[in-house]
Amino acid sequence: MKPANFRWLHFPRVDIPLLVGLLLAALIGLAALYSASDQNPATVYRQVVRLGVGFTVLLAFSSIPPRLFRLWTPWAYLLGVLLLAVTLIVGEGRGTNRWLDFGVVRFQPSEIMKLALPMAVAWYLHSRPLPPRFAESGLVVAMVAVPMAIIYFQPDLGTALLVGVSGLFVLYLAGLQWRLMGATAALGLVALPLLWFLMHEYQRNRIRTFLNPENDPLGEGWNIIQSKIAAGSGGLLGKGWLNGTQSHLEFLPESSTDFILSVYAEEFGFFGVAVLFSIYLFIVWRSLWIAKQGHDSYSRLLAGSLAMTFFVYVIVNAAMVSGLLPVVGVPLPLVSYGGTSIVTLLGGFGILMSVYGHRRFTLR
């Protein structure tokens, strides 16, 4: 018999501060996009529509109890792996196989995996006593490795790493032993040269360019040099909204997508960047705060991993456009112009809201 108060669905109960943080970041993104798109209202409108869809998904997900997500988890994971496998055979994209075309919708199955993988790891670990044992951790690594490998062979190294990281964050939050992590890190360092041989030539070029962009200032190094010039010339106070010359004069490529932070930094200066980073930091902190109040370990692990993955997206993009990391195609969450990734991202925050709505009220 179901308890009297059992409800499959309920009216969304969302964390208002987190929602405000997300909306603020999205609004800043729209302002930057309006400038970066040379004040093209059509581009901004498309982005608004995507954000609308994303926030709708957020609200929808927030009304689904974490228990249901947990029940669906294995199927989501299996579907994700299956679709990823299909992309390898029939996928589309510029020189890569990332996209699946369903006639109506065209999307990257790797987007599903961004949510499905941490869900799967959390699902696997939630019923086991934590911290996980060595064998369990090994199985988790295998769960992570399969989708990662497929995405890597699409090839999309950036997404592969980010997806993998989201799974490993669950393992970390579940209490993976520090010595195991240390040993793995050491092993990784040793394996780095090996990775070099596994990389595609274009990826190696990106690394070379990263190490010395001035080597080929008009070719591979162009993006990163112009990006740094854009941010640097903005100074502390910026050139003012719509006054950035680097993007408006087309020196800065990909100014609406991966490099939008440089447009923003040029026009709003260091203080603008500091404000945006504060908002991001607030979102991450608030998300982790929600994760801590999760009703069960599935909720906690999944919410925590989503929060940390969000942080990684921000950090990787910001480090990339400021020349601290090689150029990997990672958009700036909520700000970059882009399609399905916004929906996935806000879907993830929907899960966080769901966790918030079903938190433990006992522990205060």
């Binding site: 006593p129 934590l130 970390y172 640097g232 680097q246 004069l249 260091f270 982790l288 400021s322 522990l363």
Partner: protein, 618 residues
């Protein structure tokens, strides 16, 4: 449902604490990473701001020279002789064109671009930097501009550039005095100030355009333009405006000029009119001429060939460089030389028998009238152009005294007019003959020099200037074209004072009056050689006819008699000034191969005098 669940009991509280610890560690790391990133942006936007900001400006700011607008040229009444009109040219920037050969080929399929254009383009390329647009075609038609605009996307690095092109509204009428501007070539570059001509495409080649280049050109400006990543200028950031060239006002009068041009008819020749009061050149005609507009944007080979093939040699500036024997137009000057130096009195008579011989010589020097003119004084000698009178006078004067006196009128010397490449003519002397021919002087040469023949050579400009000096009783001014200049766009012209030259000294004014009387008699006297032009003349004209056997050959050229019919082997000349009492115009006319001065040249002079004197403005 789960094995682990059955065997081991989960401790929810411990797990929650473990999770909280892990989150705390994560938060610390996250905060640290954010701070590192913030530090990175502080480094870029604060510490490296100056450097990166400069690079941003370098990215977008390019300096480019701005060509000043060329000064306009007006006639004495403020009517435009040379102006600037908008036009379009096609430019190709080598740096931005990957396959120049292929692009040129494709462009040729679209616009009128011939091998000659491409050839000139290749020559020009060396003079431009790689990022500068090199002109390929000038004066694009509206259709061509439209056709290119549609296809523009196919031609990155090729642009249509609006510019001002020089235009001469009177086509060929003023070419020999105004000259024209033409495209800067390698020779020009070696003498021009590179900074001031960085954006210039044209420079004055001949005439006033060349002589007054520095005034007309102005001072080049500098513009900071913002360029996009392609290098295309999208916005002007700041601009140091060029200083336009000054406008010039010339002494020329369009109506007088056109009258002279028309009056010359089909004859080749020259007409120069000068104001005796200040040296202002009122008309400066050399015929045939050519359309100056042809040369501004590069003359086509065909048009140039036609000009070169023209037997009348339109490129030759007869007024400035034509070498003509003055003939009898020299007589008033010789008369003054004789009278003023005292070898003859103005009322002294000489008998003309029609035949004059030197002592100890049988060779006869003739009068033009068979049987001679009888007893004549200086007035009659000028009226009827009596050779014997001047044979006698020259002989008594001697060539060196004659040379000395006549050079005071500017004969044998460049007039100093504000045009380049002027010829000096020849005023012979013993010294001159020894220097140029290494020969001694013969008395017979003195005799024919008295009637303006022999070695004497004048340019029409020289003859007009000397006539003006004669008209002004020895007051001499440097002939000039530019009388005033003004800052472009401002209303007021600033006049330049006339330049006076050492005047001809007067020994006895009666001598001058006698010569004037003789010249007036030429037109108004019963037996005047040009009395045909006195009909209905509303003022007094002083004139002198001349008919010379040589014609406008440059020094050293040979006259091929077979080419020219006998009656055309004479140049008709006429000098005149009017009104004789207070002259405001002096004119010299040379009409080549046309016959006698009295019948051909004098009417041309009359037309010019009328145009000047009967004009309301005067």
């Amino acid at each position: 449902m789960n094995r682990a669940h059955r065997h081991v009991l989960k401790d929810q509280r411990l797990e929650a604490e473990l999770f909280s610890r892990r989150v705390l560690v994560a938060l610390v790391v996250i905060l640290a990473v954010f701070l590192v990133l913030l530090g990175r942006y502080l480094q870029l936007q604060w510490l490296q701001h100056d450097d990166l900001s400069a690079r941003s400006d370098r990215n977008r700011i390019r300096l480019q020279a701005v060509n000043p607008n060329r000064g306009l040229i007006y006639d004495r009444n403020g009517r435009l002789l040379a102006t600037n009109v908008p036009a379009y040219r096609l430019e190709l920037t080598p740096e931005r064109v990957e396959d120049i050969g292929g692009t040129l080929e494709e462009l040729a399929g679209l616009l009128d671009i011939t091998d000659v254009h491409i050839q000139r383009f290749e020559q020009r390329r060396d003079q431009y930097r790689r990022f500068q647009g090199v002109p390929l075609r000038f004066l694009l038609s509206e259709q061509e501009v439209a056709r290119f605009a549609v296809n523009r996307h196919r031609f990155p690095g090729v642009e249509i550039v609006p510019y001002l092109t020089r235009q001469y509204p009177y086509d060929e009428l003023f070419t020999h005095v105004l000259g024209y501007v033409g495209r800067i070539d390698a020779d020009d570059l070696s003498v021009l100030d590179g900074d001031n001509y960085r954006a210039a495409t044209h420079v004055g080649k001949i005439g006033v355009e060349q002589y007054r280049e520095s005034v007309l050109h102005g001072i080049s400006g500098i513009e900071q333009v913002e360029t996009n990543a392609e290098g295309r200028a999208v916005r002007t950031v700041s601009r140091n405006n060029p200083k336009p060239g000054r406008d010039l006002m010339l002494s020329l009068d369009i109506d007088v000029q056109r009258t002279a041009w028309t009056a010359l008819g089909d004859s080749a020749g020259a007409v120069v009119a000068v104001d005796p009061r200040n040296g202002d050149i009122l008309a400066f005609v050399s015929k045939p001429s050519f359309d100056a507009n042809l040369f501004v944007n590069g003359v086509s080979q065909q048009a140039y060939d036609e000009i070169l093939a023209d037997a009348g040699r339109p490129l030759f500036n007869r007024a400035l460089k034509g070498a003509y024997e003055p003939g009898s137009t020299f007589k008033p000057f010789v008369a003054l030389a004789g009278l003023e130096s005292g070898v003859m009195q103005h009322d002294q008579r000489v008998f003309s028998s029609g035949r004059f011989t030197l002592p100890n010589s049988e060779r006869p020097y003739r009068d033009w009238q068979r049987g001679g003119h009888g007893w004549v004084d200086v007035r009659g000698a000028l009226e009827q152009s009596v050779n014997t009178y001047f044979y006698q006078m020259a002989l008594e004067l001697g060539i060196d005294a004659m040379h000395q006196y006549l050079s005071q009128f500017g004969f044998g010397l460049a007039s100093g007019v504000d045009l380049s490449s002027e010829s000096a003519g020849i005023l012979p002397s013993r010294e001159w003959k020894r220097r140029t021919h290494n020969q001694i002087w013969f008395p017979g040469e003195t005799v024919i020099a008295g009637i303006g023949q022999g070695a004497n050579v004048v340019t029409p400009l020289q003859l007009a200037a000397a006539t003006a000096t004669l008209a002004a009783q020895g007051m001499r001014y440097r002939p000039r074209l530019v009388t005033a200049t003004r800052e472009s766009g401002s209303g007021d012209f600033q006049s330049l004072p006339p330049v006076s030259l050492p005047s001809v000294p007067i020994a006895d004014e009666a001598n001058w009056q006698a010569v004037y009387a003789g010249m007036i008699a030429v037109v108004h006297g019963q037996r005047g050689t040009a009395k045909g032009i006195s009909e209905n003349v509303g003022y007094t004209v002083a004139g002198k006819t001349g008919t010379a056997q040589l014609f406008g050959l440059r020094e050293g050229e040979v006259y091929e008699e077979e080419q020219v019919a006998a009656h055309l082997r004479h140049n008709a000349l006429f000098i005149a000034f009017a009104p004789a009492e207070a002259p405001t115009i002096a004119v010299a006319v040379v009409a080549e191969h046309s016959g006698a001065g009295s019948t051909v040249a004098a009417p041309i002079a009359r037309a010019v005098l009328d145009a000047w004197l009967l004009d309301d403005a005067q």
